[in-house]
Amino acid sequence: MLKVEAIDAAYGRVQVLRGLSITARAGEILCLLGRNGAGKTTLLKAIMGLVPVTGGGITLDGTEITALPAHRIPRLGIGYIPQGRRLFGELTVAENIEIGLMAGRQDRETRARVLALFPRLGERLGQRADTLSGGEQQMLATARALCLGPKLLLLDEPTEGLQPSMIALIREVVREMRARGVAVVLVEQRVDAVLEVADRVVFIENGRTALDTAPEELRTNPALLHRHVGV
């Protein structure tokens, strides 16, 4: 599915990713863990073409996407939910979803499927997105990304600042995506959340892959967590 091989990326002169490699497989939840500034968000942005990759390469199902214009990458089936949700605040819930559907050339069936995952959005279709609660905004950001019908979903701290019931819902949706064969790359700060949903965990340190392991390994060996993220 997704193969990131030894990529370098920088913001101007500040090198952030240094030969970083990961792979994400269909029907798998890959969690990225690391301290602040380790390069997790930059990695997702590099995959989406938002940060120029200066070395290495990224392929999706064997197709090289490293040099593609940013707007062509989602069309290959990559849904990206950035930190902070980034909704179209002045548009209604229905219009936000519509824009996702149009982008992914998806039909009404997809809309119904997505709304079934988030029934609360169905009750607020005519409401402006910037008047939703934080949890509802996260639901909408997730719903809009799912409207693309992605085969790879990139989520950047989707549970940040949410109440427990919303966190549980988002986790449920992530599992549902896995069950449908979608590859999920999840950036998370909360170790408990990672241990609960991840199939594989990659630690990122100073822009490099420090460890690629299974969550069971972390449960049995908490020293790893302490060494890599300080908990």
């Binding site: 214009p69 707007h71 062509r72 990458i73 909704l87 179209f88 824009i99 149009m102």
Partner: protein, 312 residues
Amino acid sequence: MTQRILALHLGLIGLLFVLQFVLPPYHHDNIARIMVMAAYAMGYNLMFGYTGLLSLGHAMFFAAGMYGMGLSMQHAGFAAEAALAVGITAGFGLALGVGLLALRTTGVAFMIVTLMFAQALFLAILYFGPFTRGDEGFVIPLSARIFAGLRLSDPTIRYFAALALFALVLLAMLWLIRHPVGRVLIAIRENEERTRMLGYDTWRHKLFAVTASGTISGTAGAVYGLLFGYVGASFAEVPYSIFPLLWVLLGGAGTLVGPFIGTLFMFYLIDLASGVTDAYMLVVGVALLLLTLFAPRGIMGMLRERWLPWLP
């Protein structure tokens, strides 16, 4: 499309239609002028209010339409119909060219580039004075202002023609912003990067917005010249780039009826204030300041925010 949105816009067109029968000649002429200028402002609103692209040089499109129409009549002897087509094409061509170049920039740089292009056109009009009649401009003779057999100098015909342009642009804009492309333009205004991340080519959409906006503005310029019989360099100057920005801000950026309300408000504010004092711009300035303080989203924007959330 919801019934009430359609009813509001058709109602406005109907009201303007009926007004001509009750207005005294002075206001009759004013409203005709305002409708043409409101069409110009709606063109501006497509780019600024809906797409979030702030241009400081929109007068170039208005003037391109006006001069395209006027010069083709003056020098090539075109009839009004053909001259109007030349004016619209000039607005379209210039907007496409400017869009292709200016959209390589963003933000403040985009504003400066559009301002520079507009100044270049203004100076070109002066430089080629023997051809354009420089800052004096020229008058379109009454005999040439006949469109499909109708005398455009006749106040009633003129009012109808202005109303036809206004209605056409208003309904086209209503259709466009409810069309998927219009939704994407609003999404770009709200968050361009996010829109790109959904797979939209935002550059192409912005080019469409600039081109459509410039074409509407050029059409308004061509129609203005035909209806009021004068083509002049003053329409290419900086104030005519700032006016649509003020009209749109006053009426409500990103609202369909806002540009008309803003144009109407500003026109009559200047008209009334200049009848009271020579320092009328001071009165206008204070009024603008108050409106900015108490209704920062403009008149229609405030109405939409407080009472009419369904307003497009």
